[in-house]
């Protein structure tokens, strides 16, 4: 069965180009993509995932407020009955020169299953997602 992914850019963040590219790449890879665009609140991600019975939420954050914008997201998913949904986040998550390892760990602690740095190859993200959602990879 086709897996559904909610895609969006969280918070006060208008970076739309990457969002469109990721949406297309996910569609090409066979996912049912519900792209809710930019300026998305945590609540909108969760509501969309309930309504579409989604399998994963993929959050982009390019503005540097990623940590703040993602705080408490996992807890809200639990309350909304989506405690088991697969959570992916990536982008310019923090400002300043911070060591990636510690940023990665902080987001894992917040309850995200996959955390990606700037410049990650989309095909890495897609193959991880297929593996995590139990889809057989062709390559």
């Amino acid at each position: 069965m086709q897996k559904t992914v909610i895609l969006g850019v969280v918070g006060v963040d208008a970076h739309v180009v990457g969002n469109k590219i990721i949406a297309q790449a996910l569609r090409d890879a066979g996912f049912n993509v519900v792209n809710i665009g930019t300026f998305v609140s945590q609540e909108d991600f969760i509501n969309a995932s309930i309504e579409t019975n989604a399998d994963a939420i993929m959050i982009g954050s390019l503005c540097g407020h990623g940590e703040l914008d993602c705080q408490g997201f996992k807890e809200k998913c639990i309350e909304a009955g989506k405690g088991n949904i697969h959570l992916v986040v990536g982008g310019n998550l923090v400002v300043g020169k911070q060591e990636w390892g510690s940023v990665h760990d902080r987001f894992l602690k917040m309850g995200f299953n996959r955390v990606y740095p700037p410049g990650v190859a989309i095909k890495t993200v897609i193959s991880d997602l297929k593996k995590d959602l139990g889809i057989a990879c062709e390559d």
Binding site: E43, C63, K76, I78, A80, G81, V95
Partner: protein
């Protein structure tokens, strides 16, 4: 015969207070305080008080109303259960506090066997079961209902969780011989707080079930009815004073500081939204009528924990040369909770304890701002209520009404440069509930809001 008197009674755990009001002249005719007799028969103390009132008037008065509030027999003891601590657990806890209850337990996620045992031992008067947004998680709340259904509990259970779990929860609880009342969800959607209906259901159950269960019903041979828990009466008064009525203007957003023997309570009637530009509010929305209760800040039963919370070293320094053995002095207060300070040293100790309690309680009630950094530089995030713009702080409770230095104590609740991120009131006017009538105002407000408000305004003393 003139029948324009109202008798307003508060059955407290230590004292039964009676206020007599002339509804036509809008004056307080008298105030009596007598030891409560909950252990034996609540009406003994009440009748003693009524006799005294008769003596004040010189005749047996005829009353138009005889209304009461009660915090006797432990008050309204409630447990709040939710799913996630920051979300439905917090929402449930706020609903319980806002309904004037005493929180005797708070539980998150699935209840464990240990927690159920703890709950049975606590034997609360009421249980509020929440969890899941509407259409959200069902599993947890249905699991918790199953645990509660099997448990040895007499308390009615108010269900205020996920609407799609209502039918199953009700079936499970009824099968377990529990009384269940269904309310709207305390958190219908993520970040939405909805506590009004739960509050009114709790009050209803208090009148119908709890009064009787606590053996307070026979008081109704002498008075019309016990209408609400005492803290609800105080909250009612606070709201009336702030908002006014269609005929009588209120005094605007306010805070009430109530320092008692067992707890220190803060009530704020305020939106609490940011007062500065560029501050972003975060977290669960704040209730407009908010009550917090600090169980470790009581002037008699918990004086030792006040000292601990304020920092023992600092406290000892302040009492240097006044009280030689602080531990002993504090332990003495706990042994005789009804005692009033007599010597100068005891008075000083009381003022210092009250100052510490007021300061800590307000700090915990008020919101905070935190600095955060983004690509555009520094900005601020606000958690909780911003009370810096509050114009009125009202003090009530023993140490503020009868103590020597109410102003010194109330000043502790102010915003300070030492802790600029704690959003406490900056330049409020201070008032004292000199006649100890706030609960009575809240009771009167049910039938005569205009009169109650005018009486409140008349008798609150401004501290210059």
């Amino acid at each position: 015969m003139r029948t324009d008197h109202a008798l307003l009674v508060d059955f407290g755990s230590t004292f039964t207070k009676i206020v007599l009001v002339d509804l036509e002249a809008e004056t307080v005719l008298g105030r009596i305080q007598t030891p409560s007799t909950v252990e034996t028969d609540i009406t003994i103390g009440l009748r003693r008080g009524l006799d005294d009132i008769g003596r004040i008037l010189g005749k047996a008065p005829v009353y138009r109303h005889k209304l009461a509030s009660s915090s006797a027999a432990g008050g309204l003891r409630m447990v709040a259960i939710g799913l996630v601590p920051d979300l439905t657990v917090e929402a449930a806890k706020r609903a319980v506090l806002g309904a004037g209850a005493k929180v005797v337990g708070v539980y998150a996620y699935r209840l464990t066997e240990n927690e159920i045992e703890e709950l049975e031992k606590a034997s609360p008067d009421l249980i509020l079961l929440a969890g899941g947004t509407d259409g959200g998680d069902r599993e947890n709340v249905i699991g918790n209902a199953t645990c509660l259904g099997r448990a040895d509990l007499k308390a009615p259970i108010v269900f205020a969780g996920n609407k799609t779990a209502v039918d199953e929860v009700r079936k499970i609880l009824i099968a377990g011989n529990k009384e269940v009342v269904v309310s709207e969800n305390v958190m219908p959607g993520i970040g939405v707080l909805q506590v009004e209906q739960v509050r009114s259901i709790i009050r209803d159950l208090f009148i119908k079930r709890i009064i009787d269960a606590k053996g307070l019903k026979n008081a109704e041979r002498f008075i019309d009815s016990i209408l609400m828990p005492t803290p609800t009466a105080v909250l009612n008064a606070a709201r009336l004073l702030a908002e006014g009525t269609p005929n009588e203007p209120g005094i605007g957003e306010l805070v009430i500081v109530d320092i008692g023997g067992a707890t220190t309570d803060i009530h704020s009637i305020s939106m609490g939204t940011p007062t500065e530009a560029g501050v972003i509010p975060k977290g669960l929305p704040e209730p407009y009528v908010k009550r917090t209760v600090e169980g470790d800040l009581g002037m008699r039963y918990n004086a030792s924990t006040i000292v601990q919370a304020a920092g023992k070293e600092k406290f000892c320094r302040q009492m240097l040369g006044i009280v030689s053995d602080l531990d002993q002095a504090v332990a003495k207060l706990n042994l005789k909770p009804e005692s009033l300070p007599e010597t100068e040293a005891e008075q000083t100790l009381d003022v210092e304890l009250a100052r510490a309690a007021a300061s800590l309680a307000m700090e915990r009630h008020a919101g905070v701002i935190e600095a955060a950094y983004g690509p555009m530089g520094q900005f601020h995030i606000q958690y909780g209520k911003d009370l810096r713009g509050i114009k009125t702080v009202i003090g009530t409770g023993g140490p503020l009404i009868f103590g020597a230095e109410p102003e010194t104590i109330l000043k502790e609740t102010l915003h300070s440069e030492a802790k600029p991120f704690s959003l406490k009131p900056k330049q409020p006017g201070f008032f004292i509930d000199e006649k100890y009538i706030l609960y009575a105002i809240g009771l009167m407000a049910e039938a005569y809001p205009d009169k109650a408000l005018r009486i409140a305004k008349k008798y609150l003393r401004k501290v210059e």
